[in-house]
Structures are given as C-alpha cells and as structure tokens.
Point group: C2
Chain length 195, copies 2
C-alpha cells in the first residue's frame, strides 16, 4: 500500500473512532464515516474488506492503545496514584468539554451496545479495559499495595473513572469527574500500605 493508501486508511479509522465514541456502533453509518473522512467509497472496501465491523474493531484497538499509553505514561513517572487518577480525569475532562461532551471513554458506548449481542466487538472492548486496569494495578503494586489489594482497588478505580465519564457526558458537567477524583483520593489513601 502506498503512502496515500495508508493515509486514507488512517483517516477512515480516525473518523470511525470519533463517531463511535460520540454516538456508538449502531448509530454510526458507513456514509457518515465516508463523509467525515473524505475518503472515497471504494477505499472503504479496499482497506476493510470485512466491512464495518473490521473498521470498528481497529478503531477500538487504536483508541484502547492510546488510552493505555496515556495511563502508562502517567503511572511511569513520579506521581502518586491519586495524582495519576486526578490527572487522567483532568485530561479526559478537558477533551470532553472541548468536544461539547461528544467524547469520554472511547470504548464505553460500544462496550455497552455489544455486551450481549456482538461477541467479537465485546472482546475487543474487554481487552482494552483489561490493559488499562492492569496498568493501574501495576502502579499500585509499585506503591506498595499487595497484589490482591492492587487488583481490587484498580478495578474500583477504573469503575469510578468510567462511571464518572458517563455521568459527566450525560450531565454536560465536570462535577462528576471532580467527585470521582476526590473519592479516588480517599480510597487510595485508605488502601495505601502503612509506612
């Protein structure tokens, strides 16, 4: 594939990412993806011969990797766990407000739509969440939490972040993100190992 082909493919995936994050899998039609990407119709079937689901799966994988890299970058530095969670919520909150609440968790909408009826896409979503949670758990282990607590607390922190992003989007308000950051701080202090 030439550079132009690669660029067209990337534009298709980028448009799909934005549309499924804003409105989900079922609400996103191929005509919208073509219009948003400016790609010709034929390119869609050239780059994604299996059609919409192949393109959506790749969009979810890329979005999951981007968030995973963001978490890995923040947890790999000097920040404490509560600062990392607050930082993540700030980043998502800025992005959300700038987009008119069209963005939040890039996986969540499709995850809910496909949880019971579309096994291939559900598994892609589940894999993204697992990666994020494991990065959070590793951070807690590095900060002295034992393995069982790190796993359980990381799961709860991820739930708190996901729920807060959902509530912030539906309310068009950052307050749920602030409330989640406060609660994560309390939870992480309470479960932190004694010095």
């Amino acid at each position: 594939m030439g550079a132009k082909g690669e660029e067209t493919r990337a534009r298709l995936v980028q448009a799909t990412r934005a549309l499924i994050e804003a409105q989900g899998y079922y609400g996103t039609g191929l005509n919208q993806v073509l219009a948003a990407s400016g790609a010709p119709r034929g390119s869609l079937y050239f780059h994604f011969p299996l059609g919409k689901d192949e393109m959506v799966a790749l969009a979810l994988v890329e979005a999951g990797e981007d968030v995973g890299a963001l978490i890995a970058g923040m947890t790999g530095g000097d920040l404490g766990p509560a600062e990392v969670v607050r930082g993540l919520l700030d980043i998502f909150g800025d992005r959300m407000a700038e987009s008119g609440y069209a963005t939040g968790c890039p996986i969540a909408t499709v995850a809910l739509e496909t949880a019971a009826g579309h096994e291939d896409l559900r598994l892609v979503c589940a894999a993204a969440y697992d990666t994020w949670q494991q990065a959070l758990a590793r951070m807690l282990v590095r900060h002295g939490h034992d393995r069982a607590d790190a796993e359980a607390t990381a799961g709860a922190v991820l739930a708190l972040v996901e729920g807060a992003l959902l509530l912030a989007r539906v309310r068009h308000s950052r307050t749920p993100l602030d409330q989640a950051a406060r609660a994560a701080d309390i939870l992480l202090r309470a479960t932190a190992p004694a010095h």
Copy 2:
C-alpha cells in the same frame, strides 16, 4: 383507551425497555419492538404518534422510576449506606447474570449514545441519574454526613456503581461489582461522621 389498549401500550414500552438496555437506542429498530412485544404495527403509531423517540423516552422514564423506587426502598430501611450499595449491586448482578449480561443500568447505553447528539433523550437520562443520586445523598445525610460531603460522596458512589455495571457487562463477570462494593464500603467508612 380500553384495557386492551393499555395492555398493548405497556407491552410496547416493556419491549422497548429491554431492547434499549441490551443494545441501545440506535440499535433498536421498531420492527424489533413490534416482534418482541407482539403488538400490531398500527398500535405503535396509535399509542406513540411522535414515533420511536416518544416511546424510548417513556421507556427511560419508567426504567428510571423503577430504579429510583428500588433505591428509595433500600435506603428507607435499617441498612447502613455500604449495605445499601452492596445490596443494589447484588440485585443488579443477579439480574445481569440471569439475562446473559443483556441488562445492567437501564439508562447507561442510551445516555452515552445521546450525550452529544440527541438533547431530548439526554435530558431524560440526566433526570433519572439526578433522582438516583439525590436519593443516595439523602441517605447519607440521614446517616450524619454533612450536605456537601453527602452530595460529593453520593456522586462518587453512583459513578462507582455505573462504572462497575459497565465493566461487569463487557467482561461477563461479577468481579467488577464485588470490587465496587468493597471500594464503596471503604469510601463510606472513610467519609462517615465520627461518632
């Protein structure tokens, strides 16, 4: 409207509730609602002259009221706040497992799909979440939390529950619900007023 008309209308709303909870607003077609409800096509436009959105809005309102009544019933008794949260997660978890993970929060999928692109339905979803959160906040005030803490902690508990329901659905696992119940217990102990 006669008893038969009322019954047909109720069946249409019930089918809509189940379908939008499992797969969302955009994934739910009127033909699916008709098939699931067994109602004749003409009845749809008779009972819901404004069409799909009117029926979906009513389904969301009813689902929101049912969860609101569940929360009110549990918070009105002798249970402590952490027991209420664990009880709610147990009830949602049982229902979720029995449905093959087709159920969770009855509002969440539509809330995410419509957060940026369908203002009427977004506001219906936001109103349901506000009602639930206020019931949780009132419970915390009755248990001695001051108003500001009750509001912030109730928001975080709702986020925790919503995020855990999302993760449980996508993973086909109750573990996120258990992790959320543990975290809610820690959060509620840490924010409880001193005796």
